[in-house]
């Protein structure tokens, strides 16, 4: 019950050397206990360092891109460099990336043609799409029976800042507008990706994390199929405020869809027109993707009635090369103003398959 109190001060005989000896003794024991571990850690570090150095440049860049936008564009750059000949090739913005299920489409078309997507985001715009098509069609001399250029009305608001993403494509994925990781972080990411991928899944933030989990799952879908799924849960919308409800028009539609395309957009279309002319306009189709039904008003309808033929003409295409699909779809199949949800994508893909079935496909298998 009574503590054995020892309140003695420093002993008379104790010297600085004795004290240092005791302190050193404890640290010597710690070092003796840990030096082997430290040595092995250095060895592991060296193995990782040399493994990283021996990675192909494309894989190093892949490790560096960890945001959805750069992942999508970079993977599509690589796909443009590796895809085989296609019967139908889609190119366009994220309404295409998230709104067209290419595998389902291929299965529903007669003869199960080869269908692929190089769709990415609106920031690339027609100039960026032309760069990717040039890689596939001109530099690699691959064939595409039909090339469908997909345009969402939101794409025509092109801004100067978006050109950074065109430069990203020009640089082969090196000049990313997004922040890059230091080499040390890339090495640890390499270990995660190659050694821990199946047991360690650190999710992305927000709805992408909820649906996909880790970035790698998202990347895999883009790499394999050239598409992505709208991640928001089905049912009540997480971003309902942006979409509005059936009775009210979203602010974004009111403020942005009543204006004609920007001059920058027309200039970008000219880049794509040059490519169209080079590879043959007859192979191209244009698809305008839908907006939610509550988005339209007479002014917007009038604006688009003028704008869409203008865009087609500017590309050097004929009006009959526009795939005649509905301008609007019901609000409840949208995840956002530009993206159909996962159910909406299936409905839209089936409707698109019907339309394409009626059009001749220039097969590459003959």
């Amino acid at each position: 019950m009574t503590p054995n109190v020892d309140t003695s001060g420093p002993r008379a005989g104790s010297s600085v050397r004795a004290r240092l000896t005791e302190s050193a003794r404890v640290f010597a024991m710690i070092v003796d206990e840990t030096w082997r571990t430290a040595a092995l850690l250095i060895l592991i570090g060296l193995v990782v360092f040399f493994a990283y150095r021996s990675l192909p440049e494309a894989d190093k860049l892949r490790l560096a891109h960890d945001k959805t936008t750069s992942v999508v564009i970079y993977e599509q750059i690589l796909r443009a460099q590796s895809l085989p000949d296609q019967d139908i090739l889609f190119i366009g913005d994220s309404s295409c990336l998230m709104g067209i299920h290419v595998e389902r489409l291929a299965a529903r078309l007669p003869g199960t043609p080869r269908v692929a997507s190089l769709c990415s985001i609106a920031y690339l715009g027609p100039t960026g799409y032309a760069r990717m098509l040039r890689t596939f069609l001109v530099e690699r001399k691959k064939h595409a029976g039909r090339i469908v250029v997909v345009i969402h009305p939101d794409q025509v608001r092109r801004r100067k800042a978006w050109d950074a993403w065109v430069r990203f494509v020009d640089s082969g994925g090196q000049a990313s507008p997004e922040q890059q990781q230091a080499p040390l972080a890339l090495m640890t990411r390499m270990v995660e990706q190659y050694a821990l991928d199946h047991v360690l899944s650190l999710p992305m933030k927000g709805t992408y994390g909820l649906y996909y989990g880790p970035l790698q799952r998202f990347r895999d879908e883009v790499t394999t199929h050239g598409v992505a799924s709208a991640p928001a849960p089905l049912g009540p919308r997480a971003n309902a405020a942006d979409l509005g409800d059936a009775g009210s028009q979203p602010k974004h539609c009111r403020e942005n869809f009543r204006h004609p395309p920007t001059a920058l957009y027309f200039a970008a279309l000219d880049d794509l027109r040059a490519l169209v002319a080079q590879v043959g306009a007859e192979r191209f189709l244009v698809l305008f993707t839908p907006v939610p039904s509550n988005c339209l008003d007479p002014e917007i309808e009038a604006n688009w009635a003028r704008m869409k033929p203008d865009l087609v003409t500017r590309l050097g295409l004929a009006p009959e090369q526009v795939i005649d699909m509905p301008v609007t779809y019901p609000l409840d199949v949208f995840e956002s103003l530009t993206h159909l949800d996962r159910n909406g994508r299936l409905i839209y893909t089936d409707a698109l398959a019907e339309k394409l079935s009626a059009m001749p496909v220039v097969s590459t298998r003959e």
């Binding site: 503590p3 003695s8 004290r19 571990t37 709805t207 879908e221």
Partner: protein
């Protein structure tokens, strides 16, 4: 300061070197621990040092007065009122004000919003309970009142266990500050293993699950699978987080030649709820038993009184975790389940399939409890319950499931080995295989720590 801060890795070797430099003077060593602990605490927010010191002075003075005064009971009461008063003011003031205002609103009285902007001093629940236990133990004459203020200060403030326990008893910890402490080679080996293991379960298990749990408990539109898997992930996260802290604390203390108690004893192996509470946060369970449950009458008296005592104890245990009705609900759930467990006695028996049934039942209660514990507010809780109507499987679920199976498997294998071969079975391995295991663990921690920046959950309590 936190064990996961870079500053800690400079702080610890420095304090350790100075500490062992003065191996021949207990008084200097204790003073060093006291000062270093105040620095450790002040690193987080120096303004709360005065509050912390006040609690130490009150507990010290009251302990002395209990021993020397004829009015020991009065002094004990006064000491408890002051310490609990500080705790209630800083931890529960807004909770009680909010609850009162809601009650007024429901009764039809208009009310203006009145909220005190009070920051919760870190570790206040832990050191307050440790100080109260000391005063009660002196009152019960289980221990003598401490005369040496520095020694007492080192006991309350001992930095490895200051902010998240274990809540140590004076007879276990205070007495160690009176003994010469020589660190042996075996203690160093044990300390390093505990520290490595602690960081592994904290960073390598709890922190990698944290973003999943954050997603599962932050959305109002979660699928049912997110609720189920997110709650399983939280069960593993909170265990890894708190176990990790406790192991690091124990390991660091050992480097000073001081033994802390084991705060966890394989709680997820429990086959009954009574068993669970003997294994989970043992220092708090023991505290609640000795200073709340037993003084209330414990299991003496009628069955009704017995159940009442259990309920009150667990409700207070819930409230100890934080000022929220979901913590109270969590305590109530455990109180009810413990009451049922006591009433049905030793059923199911602890062997065979019955033992498995007991484990499943226990874990079901524990998991429902963790759901209440983590949900935090009733709006999110109800929304998540609503999400149980939608069991759409996302790609994310496959990843999380694989991760849960892997991490649970690792923990289960480790704990099985510890139970079979002893807590320090790894130390019996030859040096190089042991170093290989340790280096793989450390390499894994380094890799995953790039993505994790999560504090210790129990710091908020």
């Amino acid at each position: 300061m936190s064990f996961t801060e870079i500053a800690f890795f400079a702080f610890l070797p420095l304090v350790l070197a100075l500490y062992h430099l003065f191996h021949d003077s207990l008084r200097i060593q204790n003073a060093l621990i006291f000062v270093a602990s105040l620095f450790f605490y002040g690193w987080w927010d120096w303004r709360f040092l005065s509050l912390f010191l006040l609690s130490i002075v009150v507990a010290y003075g009251v302990g002395r007065m209990i021993e020397t005064s004829k009015h020991a009971r009065v002094w004990l009461g006064a000491g408890i009122v002051v310490l609990v008063g500080i705790l209630v003011t800083f931890k529960y003031a807004n909770f009680f004000i909010d609850s009162f205002l809601v009650m007024l609103a429901q009764m039809g009285f208009s009310q203006s919003k009145f909220v005190l902007q009070i920051i919760l001093p870190i570790g206040i629940s832990f050191y307050t309970f440790q100080a109260i236990a000391y005063m009660v133990d002196v009152y019960r004459r289980d221990i003598r009142a401490e005369r040496d203020f520095i020694c007492f200060g080192a006991f309350i403030a001992f930095f490895p266990q200051l902010v998240a326990g274990p809540i140590e008893r004076a007879r276990d910890l205070l007495t160690q500050f009176h003994r010469r402490r020589t660190v042996t080679r075996r203690q160093v080996a044990e300390a390093i293993w505990l520290i490595v293991l602690g960081y592994f379960v904290k960073i390598g298990i709890a922190d990698v699950l944290a973003p999943h749990v954050e997603l599962a408990y932050s959305t109002r539109h979660a699928s049912g699978w997110w609720v189920v898997l997110g709650t399983l992930a939280f069960a593993l996260q909170i265990y890894g987080d708190f176990l990790g802290y406790s192991l690091i604390a124990k390991g660091v203390a050992l480097l000073f030649g001081i033994e802390l108690i084991w705060n966890f004893n394989f709680p997820y192996w429990a086959t009954s709820l009574v068993d669970f509470w003997r294994r989970w946060h043992i220092s708090l369970s023991n505290w609640l038993r000795d200073y709340i449950y037993v003084p209330l009458g414990g299991s003496r008296g009628s069955q009704g009184l017995y159940i009442r005592n259990l309920m009150l104890t667990m409700l207070l245990g819930g409230l100890w975790h934080g000022a929220s009705w979901t913590f109270v609900l969590w305590g109530a759930l455990h109180g009810v389940a413990l009451g049922i467990n006591h009433l049905i006695g030793r059923w199911p028996p602890a062997y065979g399939l019955a033992s498995l049934a007991g484990w499943i039942t226990t874990m079901s209660v524990v998991l429902v409890g963790w759901f209440l514990f983590r949900a935090g507010d009733s709006t999110l809780m109800l929304s998540m319950i609503g999400a149980l109507g939608n069991f759409e499987w996302y790609p994310a679920h496959s990843g999380l499931l694989a991760m849960l199976v892997t991490l649970s498997g690792v923990i289960a294998a480790l704990e099985w080995a510890e139970q079979r071969y002893g807590r320090f079975f790894v130390l019996d391995w030859p040096a190089w295989p042991r170093a290989a295991l340790t280096s793989l663990i450390v390499a894994y921690i380094v890799v995953v720590s790039q993505h994790t920046d999560v504090g210790f959950i129990y710091f908020q309590f």
